[in-house]
Amino acid sequence: MAMPRLLAEGLLKSAMTEIAPAADDEALAQLAARVDTAAHRRLGRSLSIRHVDAGSCNGCELELHALGNAFYDLERFGLRFVASPRHADVLLVTGPVTHNMREALERTFAATPGPKWVLACGDCATGCGMFSGGYACLNGVGDVLPVDVVIPGCPPNPTALLEGLLALMEDGRAKRHR
């Protein structure tokens, strides 16, 4: 009888979801300079994200996963992670980009249809992490792909991730209404 009880509780209790955080102004400004107005008019509030781990310790991935839990519930913002770059508008890249992942990252970018944006997520990806350079790593996503937005943090917590992602959305809407 565990399932009926749990489902009933779910109906009766109030939602766990947090109030949506405000978009981060700096990220918004940074984005505003880059995002194509016309393309965003088409995308509206439906943005598909493809994640690529290019050398992360897995910390960023854990927090990206947390975006899907009942507290953050990413999909209510019209943002969702998709299984293929062919379905994606945004590539969200974590890690400093290891040499061993460089080609896979480039091919994932090539497989993503335009218009598309690149989000560098976490300190490693932004090139200010501890793992830049050396024989095994490049210096962040910017060494390989044109980066539109960065989300700092080691790892960025879900709120920081949401702010970064919402910046992308809010900006799109602002331009669409202009």
Binding site: L6, L7, N58, L62, A66, N69, F71, T98, N100
Partner: protein, 500 residues
């Protein structure tokens, strides 16, 4: 005399290696050790090296003190362990890629970490300009109607990268071979030359979901090398963090395994509990994953009275919410249909590979570093390994369920007996070598370090998944392709921790 004692008696013991012995052995003794690894008397804990030396850590299969063996390799060659004891094969391949040490008689000489993308070869050995490379050859499978399925390194979900090559007959998997190394960041090379406190930041990022386990293992190794002990309060707080990490990961895994059997309800509820553990960690230890909260010499954050209340509230909450979820798991026939009997790991393989964590314990292997090689704070708590016999996905879920209960009790007991006093101590600027074995949520993490005059000269970190990935490949044989995600999630092997 025990096998380990016998080896020590015949070897030259290295001074200043603590707390366990490092013995310099000759080639005959090395070969003899391979014999007793192959017959199951000893278990391999790790294999690593440095220019001119191969090192192996072993322990008696039934438990006992770990022992490090060192063999001089003039000419850069050593007798292959993997030739007769397969768990060593991938470690030997990695050792060659980084240091150029050649395992004589090895059956598999393919590269492992070196994908031919670096500017140099053997970066920690010869460090010579890279040469041209043959394409990587996967192990072949022959037979009628076999086809290959290539997956990765970029997967469909929010997952770490790795390549899986399946040979399948229709839906039935005949062979799986994993190819990893995509995440190789050169972690241990970056640690060399740093002060232990700085190097600890790299250990904390070896594997994000096990940051507490790695930080603790590295801290233990450094403290052993420098003959200093963290204060009792710090040791208790490390225990609290370790159990919080175990709790968060097990809750996440239990939900995610059910999600891979298309049972999203468990995933949603377990995800809420996991989030609550992370929030408590953020409130109490200033970081959701507790990264950098443990440093050599102690802990970076101490607890106040409010923090104790937050942790006690968390325990009460999980105690209240978790049992109905366990009933839900156990009472849902459609879910049990997927997990029971799927992905069976033979007990003899778990023993042979000395597979740690829920992978080994779900297949009857009684090993938990907290019990087998007890360290503070567990040495006085009397932890008993949670063992199951069935060896399937369901058994791996149940080991986690049992360990959630165990962790709640351990946190409670640690908080009840939390010693007063300082939470860290200064490190002396000495020299020495240290070895540590710490039970992370996934299994035992090994750390070895050599400190010279207050600087890390060399470090080795061995993830539990080195000995779990091969068993995933073994257990998938005969299962259908669609059950691979389920088996894979029930292992939840590390990529970053193995690739380093």
């Amino acid at each position: 005399m025990s096998v380990v004692g016998d080896i020590i008696a015949r070897s030259r013991v290295v001074e200043h290696h603590r707390p366990w012995t490092r013995a310099i052995v000759d080639a005959d003794t090395w070969e003899g050790v391979i014999d007793v690894l192959a017959d199951g008397t000893l278990s391999l804990l790790s294999l690593w090296g440095e220019p001119g030396w191969a090192h192996a850590a072993v322990m008696a299969a039934g438990g006992g003190q770990p022992l490090v063996l060192s063999l001089a390799c003039p000419g850069g060659r050593y007798p292959s362990v993997g030739a007769r004891h397969p768990p060593a094969i991938r470690l030997e391949r990695a050792l060659f890629d980084l240091y150029g040490l050649i395992p004589d008689g090895a059956l598999d000489r393919r590269p492992w970490l070196d994908h031919g993308r670096w500017d140099v070869r053997q970066p920690l050995g010869a460090n010579a300009p890279a040469d041209s490379r043959e394409p990587y050859r996967f192990v072949t499978s022959e037979g009628e109607s076999l086809h290959q399925i290539a997956v990765g390194p970029v997967h469909a979900g929010i997952i770490e990268p790795g390549h899986f090559r399946f040979a399948a007959n229709g839906e039935t998997v005949v062979r799986l071979e994993a190819r990893l190394g995509y995440l190789h960041r050169g972690v241990v090379a970056r640690m060399a030359g740093l002060a232990p406190q700085e190097a600890a930041r790299f250990a904390a990022r070896a594997c994000g979901d096990s940051t507490v386990a790695y930080s603790t293992a590295f801290a233990h190794a450094v403290e052993a090398a420098l003959e200093v002990a963290a204060p009792p309060r710090a040791q208790a707080l490390r225990g609290v963090m370790a159990e919080m990490e175990r709790l968060a990961n097990h809750l996440g895994d239990i939900g995610a395994i059910c999600n891979d059997a298309a049972f999203a309800l468990m995933h949603a509820h377990c995800g809420v509990l996991r989030e609550q553990v992370l929030r408590a960690a953020a409130a109490v230890f200033s970081h959701r994953l507790m990264m950098d909260s443990i440093t050599p010499g102690g802990v970076a954050v101490d607890l106040g009275p409010d923090d104790l209340r937050i942790l006690r509230d968390l325990i009460a909450l999980v105690r209240d919410r978790f049992p109905p979820l366990v009933s839900l798991y156990d009472d849902t026939a459609s879910l049990q249909d997927r997990t029971v009997g799927t992905g069976w790991v033979a007990p003899h393989l778990a023993r042979q590979f000395a597979a740690g964590g829920y992978v080994g314990r779900a297949s009857s292997r009684v090993f938990d570093a907290r019990q087998t090689v007890p360290y503070a704070p567990y040495d006085t708590l009397g932890v008993e390994a949670c063992v199951r016999e069935a060896g399937d996905v369901n058994a791996r879920v149940w080991v986690r369920i049992d360990e959630v209960d165990q962790s709640l009790t351990l946190i409670e007991r640690l908080l009840d007996g939390l010693p007063e006093g300082p939470a860290r101590t200064d490190l002396p600027k000495g020299s020495g070598e240290g070895l540590a074995l710490v039970e992370g949520f996934r299994g035992d993490v090994l750390a070895w370090v050599r400190v010279m005059e207050g600087r890390v000269e060399r470090c080795h970190l061995r993830d539990p998944s080195w000995f779990q990935w091969p068993l995933l490949e073994a257990c998938i044989e005969g299962n259908i392709v669609a059950d691979f995600p389920l088996c894979n999630k029930s292992f939840n092997c590390a990529y970053a921790g193995v690739d380093l």
